[in-house]
């Protein structure tokens, strides 16, 4: 799950940078925001969720 979280984070970055050659600034902004949110989801959602599964305070 940790690796998956990191992969999603990098995927989010790839989505964001893929916006650079789009024609409309509005669409560029939308795609870049989606990329940022995907990256955040990978780090704060998936990766952190993996850490919380074995959190020290649960034992």
């Amino acid at each position: 799950m940790r690796v998956l979280g990191l992969v999603i984070a990098v995927l989010g970055w790839l989505i964001a940078v893929s916006s650079v050659e789009l024609s409309s600034v509005g669409i560029q902004a939308l795609v870049a925001v989606i990329g940022l949110l995907v990256a955040l989801g990978g780090v704060l959602g998936v990766l952190n969720g993996a850490h919380l599964k074995n959190a020290i305070w649960k034992s």
Binding site: L14, A16, V20, L47, W57
Partner: protein, 576 residues
């Protein structure tokens, strides 16, 4: 008579030319066309303009004219110069050939050297201010930790300077700035001229890292490069010390040492290169017409968000402190042991920030650098409104104006204004700082209660969250009035954000944020994961409960005091 008139005219024109040249605003050839300064002042004060006198034809200055300028006599100088009117005259201009005497070439070279000297001194002095911020970080972090960990926390803040500096000298600086030339403010920095790049989207070159300046050897043994190194090094060290706060009270000192060197050698320099060293983020404007490319004036992203996301990575890996969370996942408060130390540290940091932001012009003379006053005021205002907002938030939400969050609000405002400080006006600075003060309070609660990531000092929120906000705010509030030599990141004109007519700038800033979260975090996480596997990141439970001062450092922070544990891991000081 005519000869005397011409001589007088030449003398006046020479004085004017010298004044203009010293101000760095005059081309090499000077013409006598304006009246003397005294006449200008009188004309401005007069109620009605006098009829214009007939302007004499321009007369070029020659070396012979310079020889006619007499400096103060040795006898006069020997009497002292309490008024300062005899010091700094033609006598002080360096002459390249004593046989020829003073020439126009000497004069012009002196002007050029004065400009670079002003910029070198400015950059060095502001770098010294940033270096002193380490003391502020040390005080803030130690004060926010428990007394039983005081020595350990202080030592991490102390030694991150040495560990980070060494790694940055070996390779970090080269990776970051090895391809950053030219830089007109610091004399060109011509030796830093090699950037490794690959062709990526659209076949455009993406600069990834520099290749000159390892060990500061070879051609980089250069006066301008040395100043650049010092300034960039203290910035890197600021990023490195952010992590020590988030991982405090349970981080193994050996792991901290390796992790700090990893950040100084790899993580920070890579992003620093992409943003400041001529790398791909800075070229988003030139390559893809996204505003002026990623703009981060003094490092909300490069310094603070890099430190913040690295702090998040390390905090996730080492986990929360024993006792921080109950079995049901609710957090327990673990207040620090010295709020006075915290607030004094915040003041030291606010003082140092006057080096951080205005110093990032890398000069005070030429290329629009007189904007340093505006940058300093923006810095001041954003810190002020940040603390105001956070105190207001805490007061309304919890009934008391929380001191530690007041300090964090000040820092949040300062972190947020760091990227936009050179591009926004005072109204923008006030809004950015106020929003950061609110944001840091929300973020601290989110990190602690939702993410359940233990961050004893709030570093992830202050530097990570508000660093990202600062990056985005450039794309919103940059007002298009800055002019640093006519262009920024190779794109002509001033930086403008969404509210001032350029939405594409915001796109570049969002991509910068996505890079921080998606790439910089990943690099930091992988590096620290590896370190965890090799040496272990976390101390043993017994050491943590006892306090890290003795097990890790071999000496107590407060040996004259008896520390009594109170409640869940909290300790109070009792004087012997």
């Amino acid at each position: 008579m005519i000869a005397r008139f011409n001589k007088l005219r030449r003398t006046v024109s020479l004085l004017l030319a010298t004044a203009w040249l010293c101000a760095g605003m005059m081309p090499a050839v000077v013409w006598a066309t304006d009246p003397p300064p005294v006449q200008v002042a009188q004309a401005a004060a007069a109620p009605a303009p006098a009829p214009a006198a007939k302007t004499p034809p321009p007369v070029p200055i020659t070396d012979a004219d310079l020889k006619a300028v007499a400096g103060p006599k040795p006898d006069d100088l020997a009497k002292g110069d309490p008024g300062g009117t005899l010091t700094g005259t033609v006598n002080d201009i360096v002459v390249s050939d004593s046989k020829k005497g003073l020439t126009l070439a000497d004069l012009v070279n002196m002007v050029g050297q004065n400009r670079i000297a002003i910029n070198l001194v400015w950059t060095l002095v502001t770098g010294y201010l940033v270096m002193f911020m380490q003391a502020g970080f040390a005080a803030v972090e130690t004060g926010l930790c428990r007394a039983k960990n005081a020595n350990h926390t202080m030592m991490m803040n102390f030694m991150v300077y040495g560990f980070g500096l060494f790694a940055y000298w070996v390779m970090g600086f080269a990776l970051q700035q090895g391809g950053c030339a030219p830089n007109a403010n610091l004399g060109g920095l011509s030796p830093l001229n090699s950037e490794f790049a690959v062709n990526f989207i659209g076949g455009k070159p993406w600069g990834l890292f520099g290749q000159r300046g390892f060990f500061l050897s070879g051609a980089t043994y250069d006066v301008g490069v040395m100043v650049m190194f010092l300034f960039q090094m203290v910035f890197m060290d600021t990023a490195a010390t952010i992590v020590t706060g988030a991982a405090a009270e349970r981080w193994k000192f050996a792991a901290f040492a390796v992790s700090s060197m990893f950040l100084a050698a790899i993580t920070y320099p890579l992003y620093g290169n992409w943003a400041w060293g001529g790398g791909w983020l800075s070229q988003l404007g030139a390559n893809y017409h996204l505003g002026h490319g990623y703009c981060d004036f003094a490092g909300s992203g490069v310094v603070h968000a890099v430190g913040g996301v690295s702090a998040l990575a390390v905090s996730m890996i080492i986990g929360p402190r024993i006792g921080k969370y109950r079995r049901d996942g609710k957090p327990n408060p673990m207040p620090g042991h010295d709020i006075t130390m915290v607030l004094i540290g915040c003041f030291i940091l606010a003082f140092g920030w006057f080096g951080f932001n205005p110093g990032s012009t890398l000069g005070a003379s030429g290329s629009g650098n007189l904007r340093i006053g505006s940058i300093a005021v923006n810095t001041m205002l954003a810190g002020c409104t940040g603390s105001f907002a956070s105190v207001l938030y805490m007061w309304i939400r919890f009934g008391k104006p929380d001191a530690s969050m007041g300090g964090n609000g000040l820092l949040a405002g300062l972190v947020a204004i760091t990227a936009p400080s050179g591009f926004v006006n005072t109204v923008g600075a006030v809004i950015i700082g106020f929003a950061a003060g609110m944001l840091v309070c929300l973020s601290v609660e989110y990190v602690e209660r939702v993410l359940k990531v233990d961050d004893p000092v709030g570093a992830i929120s202050v530097h990570g969250t508000c660093g990202l906000w600062g990056v985005l705010s450039v794309g919103l509030f940059a007002d298009g009035t800055s002019n640093y030599g006519g262009s920024w990141n190779g794109v002509d004109g001033s930086v403008r954000g969404l509210f001032y007519g350029d939405p594409s700038q915001l796109v570049a800033q969002i991509i910068g944020c996505a890079t921080l979260v998606g790439i910089v975090f990943t690099i930091s996480y992988l590096g620290n994961w590896l370190i965890d596997g090799l040496v272990g990141q976390r101390v043993g439970a017994a050491s943590e409960l006892e306090g890290l001062d003795l097990p890790e450092m071999g000496a107590l922070g407060y040996p004259e005091f008896q520390l009594v544990t109170s409640g869940l891991g909290r300790s109070v000081e009792v004087a012997d």
